[in-house]
């Protein structure tokens, strides 16, 4: 008997009298069951194929997003030059090349094995990075107002962040394929939902910065602005600290120094330098330092909810917070914080209505804290922390 026929009879456990149609149905059925069994033993590989597919899709989408945002920034720069009536004709490819160069700009972390003076070094690096970025774009936009250039700087900073995420994910994706290591791919896959949320937030931030609108992170500066509008005898204090506004106003007999980044261009200012200037140069002896900032909410917390506490409400790499803490501890000044809760997408994209409403509540809290903790005739420093894009003073 033919070998195939024997195999068929063994597989199907049927005799020679069975009909041919039923026999083929049984063969197909057995093949399906064998395939399921095969998948059961090799499910790891199947999962890795799926992970690779998902990560690959994410990378393709991110690449497209970066490309679109580069076009957006380039178009915006060209529009700024045209609207300014600039006679300078810059080739589109030149602008694009400059933007791509800035996207590859790196900040090398200082050596942390010897921590003495680390914060000063970090501050120097951050300042140098911001200045270099602005100078490069200033060269493209020589006759444009500074706030508009600052908005482009923030947008390019967002692009640089997107590019960095793309490169890191691509690195691990290729590494996983190169060494046939499923666990690298699995780790990226597990991070995808968080990365996707962050990427979408950055995407929204680039558009918002280019438009010069306030982002959610501007809640701190907006609180400072609204507080000042409710004060009397408001005056600006002259100083030479870059991108920072310091005002003095009278709130029910208390002298309130209001510090915020100088708007409406997108910048976070040098708030620590302003506080050091007020305390060590002007001789202000505040009863307390109140910081107001946007804080990331936990899942389950409501956007726009407000929390109070002690300490310095300030994000970032911690340089400015360290400097404020140091000067406050040196002079024994209590630190008070007001936090406005929001998610990462809300902090980076156009300010949502809930946050805008929470700012009014934050102003009321600040007024209450000052009335409770500072007597008439005493001084207090109020700091509006955050990117002041779209918020003047």
């Amino acid at each position: 008997m033919d070998l195939l026929v024997i195999l068929q009879q063994v597989l199907l456990q049927v005799g020679p009298g069975s009909s041919q149609g039923n026999a083929w149905l049984m063969i197909i059925s057995n093949i399906i069951w064998l395939a399921l069994l095969f998948l059961f033993f090799f499910q790891d590989y199947v999962m890795v194929w799926r992970y690779a597919y998902m990560v690959g899709n994410f990378l393709t989408g991110l690449n497209r997003l970066i490309y679109n945002n580069i076009n957006l920034v380039v178009n915006h720069i060209q529009q700024l030059l045209r609207s300014n009536g600039s006679s300078q004709v810059i080739d589109r490819s030149v602008i694009e090349r400059r933007i791509r160069d800035l996207m590859e700009f790196v900040v090398i972390e200082p050596v942390s094995a010897e921590p003495t003076g680390l914060m000063r070094t970090l501050k120097l690096l951050v300042t140098t990075y911001n200045e270099r970025l602005e100078e490069s774009l200033r060269a493209l936009l020589p006759s444009i107002e500074r706030p508009l250039v600052q908005n482009v700087v923030d947008a390019v900073d967002g692009l640089r962040e997107l590019n960095f995420i793309y490169k890191v994910i691509m690195h691990y994706y290729r590494l996983s394929n190169k060494y046939k290591n499923p666990y690298l791919m699995m780790q990226i896959y597990m991070l995808l939902p968080i990365l996707r949320e962050y990427v979408n937030a950055l995407n929204g931030a680039i558009t918002t910065f280019l438009k010069g609108q306030p982002v959610g992170d501007a809640a701190g500066p907006l609180t400072a602005y609204r507080f000042m509008r409710n004060c009397s005898s408001l005056e600006e204090i002259n100083h030479n600290i870059k991108d920072t506004y310091v005002g003095l106003c009278n709130f029910e007999g208390r002298r309130v120094y209001v510090v915020k980044a100088k708007g409406p261009g997108g910048t976070v200012g040098n708030l620590d330098d302003a506080i050091t200037y007020l305390i060590e140069r002007v001789g202000v002896r505040p009863r307390m330092i109140i910081t107001v900032d946007a804080a990331l909410k936990l899942e389950g917390e409501k956007t726009g909810s407000i929390a109070e506490g002690v300490g310095v409400a300030m994000g970032g790499i911690g340089v400015e917070r360290f400097n404020i803490e140091r000067i406050a501890s040196k002079y024994g000044i209590p630190l008070y914080a007001v936090l406005i809760k929001m998610s990462i997408p809300e902090a980076l994209s156009a300010m949502p209505k809930e946050v805008e409403e929470a700012v009014n509540e934050a102003v009321e809290r600040v007024r209450r804290v000052i009335k409770e903790g500072v007597r008439e005739g005493e001084e207090v420093i109020l700091v509006g922390v955050g990117n002041t894009s779209g918020v003047a003073q």
Partner: protein, 109 residues
């Protein structure tokens, strides 16, 4: 072919097809689409009909009398800017009081 074999094959095939359909439906993209559709339906029910205000808006305020006006966001405006719009009550120039986005925001449950 016996009835048992035929029965097992048919049921096996049906289960296999159903598993593939479930895998297709429940993958992330479709799941997100279904969730968004359901949440939009809920939001629309919550808001009620005829109460649709969305997009980027700015609030202008009269510094003298407190009159406010909400308009769509205009490029170049910022909080604190004195605009050319005038207050219909006292003719004072309106100041941009707030700029924000009204739309769907994901709230923590």
């Amino acid at each position: 072919m016996s009835f048992e074999n035929y029965y097992v094959s048919t049921v096996g095939l049906i289960i296999f097809i159903i598993a593939i359909v479930i895998a297709l439906v429940m993958n992330e993209r479709y799941f997100r689409f279904i969730r968004n559709t359901l949440s939009q339906t809920d939001l629309a029910k919550g808001r009620g009909e005829g109460q649709v205000l969305s997009g980027e808006v700015e609030v202008l305020i009269c510094p003298r009398c407190g009159y406010t006006k909400t308009i769509p966001f205009r490029l170049g405006d910022y909080v604190g800017k004195i605009t050319n719009d005038v207050c219909p009550k006292d003719g004072e120039k309106l100041v941009v009081h707030a700029i924000y986005y009204v739309g769907m925001t994901e709230q923590g449950s």
